[in-house]
């Protein structure tokens, strides 16, 4: 408990420390699983949602988190989850989709929730199933160490065949060789599960992505054609319509649509013995496409859905917003926040003054995101798509999609989160008792290929990302950008969970691009991200 409050404390913006005691109390409440009494008029929040629980999912449920409250909006109204394939355990391990996509956690799952669940069930929850809730299925399931990546970084094992298989089942010819350099989970060298086994498989470890606002995530209105904008190769096709898709699903864009995704999730995560029926796929798709989510209340800034407040904030803004729109411009904006939170007067009392100060910080954070330039260098699929290397631009250059800050289409890029030298690594020295947690692979691009333009012919990576699907040298470590929504409800961040807090996200960028943010800029950015 102390540890969790500590981590909540780390998340709390410094300007807001005096609210900490309230927050600790809130965290304490969450931890005991008690339903948080919502403000009058708001639906009560449930914390852990068990598969097959059968409750109604209200039309606009709200859930407390370390920065305030997150809310979902079901535009179809309250959802009856009885017999609903997203909520029912469909396979042998007792999991449902909701196991890893929890309403309280922006339909992802935070590492705090995972730890809480471990304590409450002594590790017996289906979340910890051997198939991918362990570092590797062969480990002893009762030991927390066997689940260390899930418990410490919120990571699920994603295992993919090597060489990759195309959508039609044919083998993709990779442009590189891959070797296992380090195997702390024991999975990549395992005789049954590993790269050198009978069915050569690569295991990487990734965060569950938030299943909200999928209308935006799957929008195909800008930058989508038969050919991928980033490299001119063939775009993935929606098997139901024959049309190209925007390739923004999953860290590596391996799924074309939410339907193909659901089918794979059922057989993979849920270990369903049978394929989902068309009716089940319809129900999952329908549910996902009407579901919106965003932070709705900020412990610093107050209600985010006030009439006349910033247009981009709150889940109704997502439900009503335009998808597939390029926002890195002064006509649409990525996050239109209007003028209302700039230059606010002193409040009537201390509370209002503090709230106004926080709102101004959010507005400054928005400006840091949208206008603050820095040199973006050696980042594959942004420097390589016609802008040049380096470019003097802003966060919104990569994060350009209106309302979500995703890339409009085929949004994979190498930010350095998984590739050396920028990926988070344990310092190796005689005084550090901790061991590296993540696998490490060595990628050697074939001699008949041009080298990767920024990393050369030999690349060390914790997760080859898109390259595990495309087999392309240039795609090593390229990860599809996630949406920025509900961030407060779902730490840690980045696909490999390497940023424990929003502050660590900002610090990562500061190091990666030598941005030289001031302390104030960093706090403003954190406050801004926390209200999305």
């Amino acid at each position: 408990m102390k540890h969790l409050i500590e981590s909540a404390r780390r998340q709390v913006p410094r300007t807001d420390r005096r609210r900490l005691s309230v927050l600790s109390a809130m965290v304490a409440l969450c931890m005991t699983g008690t339903v948080i009494a919502a403000d009058a008029g708001h639906s009560p929040a449930r914390q852990w949602w068990s598969p097959g629980d059968g409750a109604m999912l209200p039309a606009k449920p709200e859930y407390a988190n370390g920065f305030g409250r997150f809310a979902l909006v079901n535009t179809d109204g309250p959802i009856d989850t009885r017999k609903h394939p997203f909520f029912e355990p469909l396979g042998i391990n007792g999991r449902a989709c909701v196991t890893c996509h929890q309403p309280s956690d922006a339909m992802s799952i935070s590492v705090e929730t995972i730890q809480q669940r471990w304590r409450e069930t002594q590790g017996a929850d289906p979340l910890f199933a051997a198939v991918d809730g362990m570092n590797c299925p062969h480990l002893p399931p009762e030991k927390p160490e066997s689940h260390s990546l899930l418990l410490e970084r919120g990571l699920i094992r994603v295992f993919l065949p090597w060489p990759p298989k195309a959508a039609d089942g044919s083998a993709v010819k990779p442009e590189f060789d891959i070797e296992v350099v380090r195997d702390p989970t024991g999975c990549n060298l395992h005789s049954e599960y590993g790269l050198y086994s009978e069915n050569p498989t690569i295991s990487v470890y990734r965060r569950p992505r938030p299943v909200i606002n999928m209308r935006y995530v799957t929008a195909s209105k800008f930058g989508v054609s038969n050919f991928i904008g980033k490299n001119g190769t063939l775009a993935a096709i929606n098997p139901d319509t024959g049309k190209p898709v925007n390739m923004n699903l999953m860290a590596d864009a391996r799924e074309a649509t939410v339907r193909t995704q659901a089918a794979s999730a059922a057989s993979g995560h849920l270990q369903a013995a049978r394929a989902l029926t068309p009716a089940e796929l319809d129900a999952i798709e329908k549910f996902e496409m009407q579901l919106y989510g965003a932070q709705i209340e900020s412990s610093g800034a107050g209600r985010l859905d006030e009439a006349g407040g910033p247009q981009a904030l709150g889940p109704m803004a997502m439900a009503n917003g335009r998808d597939g729109l390029l926002g890195n411009n002064l006509s649409n904006y990525v996050f239109p926040i209007g003028e209302g939170w700039y230059d606010l007067p002193d409040g009537k009392d201390a509370d209002e003054s503090a709230r106004n100060a926080f709102r101004e910080s959010v507005a400054r954070g928005h400006d840091a995101f949208f206008y603050r330039t820095f040199w973006i260098k050696d980042s594959m699929h942004i420097n390589s798509v016609g802008l040049g290397n380096p470019i003097k631009r802003t966060c919104a250059t990569c994060h350009g999609m209106h309302m979500t800050a995703m890339d409009t289409a085929n949004g994979w890029m190498d930010l350095g989160t998984t590739n050396l030298p920028w990926a988070l690594e344990e310092p190796a020295n005689p005084w550090n008792k901790r061991k590296a947690q993540m696998p490490l692979f060595k990628v050697t691009c074939h001699a008949d290929q041009p080298p990767h333009p920024f990393l050369g012919r030999v690349i060390y990576t914790q997760d080859p990302g898109r390259a595990l699907i495309s087999g392309k040298c240039d795609d090593v470590g390229a990860i599809v950008i996630q949406q920025f929504r509900g961030l407060s409800a779902r730490a840690p961040y980045f696909s490999n969970g390497s940023a424990a807090s929003l502050r660590e996200v900002v610090d990562y960028y500061d190091r990666r691009y030598n941005i030289q943010y001031s302390e104030q800029e960093k706090q403003d950015l954190v406050n801004f991200l926390s209200v999305l």
Partner: protein, 264 residues
Amino acid sequence: MKIQKIINHLAVITTFAAAGSALAAKPGDRLSFISCPIVRDTASVPCWLTEYDGELYYMGIQTDVSAPWQPPYLGHKVLVEATVSDKPRICGGIVLEPINSTVMPELDDSCNTMLPAEDKYQIDFNPRPPGPSSGRLAFDRPPPNAPAEPAELPDHQTFEITFDFDRSISFRHPGVMMRIVNYAQAVNAQTIEVTGRRGATLLSTGETITEGAAIAQRRAEEVASLLRGVGLKANVSMKWSDTPMDADGVEDWKNRSVTVVVSK
């Protein structure tokens, strides 16, 4: 063989020395050379320069993906094929226009010069600031394949696809590939012939550089497989020549190409 190479090299160096910067390039001169790009920051967007034969040249500025000219990469040399213009210097460099530039594939750590902004270098023709654009993108794209009536479409059409040095399909190509696909679908094309070429460039030093031996085939195969991959019904045939194209120092970049002939 090696010795011959060294002699060639020496010959190049001597010509170089003899030419010296006394014979600075004049407006209208064509220049083809390989050198490091240089980035100069300004109060607005950075400009891209390069040095050749003791002179500083201006290539262009950072804009966005819609731009007709796109900046190269630090960390790589750049092959420049351009004409010297009579415009006033920009960012301190003699303006090269028109210009074609392509990133050389191998990495080169020595290309790492970034110069700070100085008040005397201002960019006042900036179609896109270093942040959000004012509209959508900086440059208008040609209107997307104007819907011509099928009856007026010719029986066959030829498309030229050009490439970066020693590279095949890239981010540059979705536009032209879609034009081919749209035309082939509109006329219900029966045959598509793909011809791959291996380029060469005559440098201003007198040396000719050629692309790798397998590049013509690779280009032809990639273009053909993309056209088959989108599900065109036409019979796609391909050929290529490993013999490098003749290079004469005039727009040699056009030789790094594939020609696609689409017929009804």
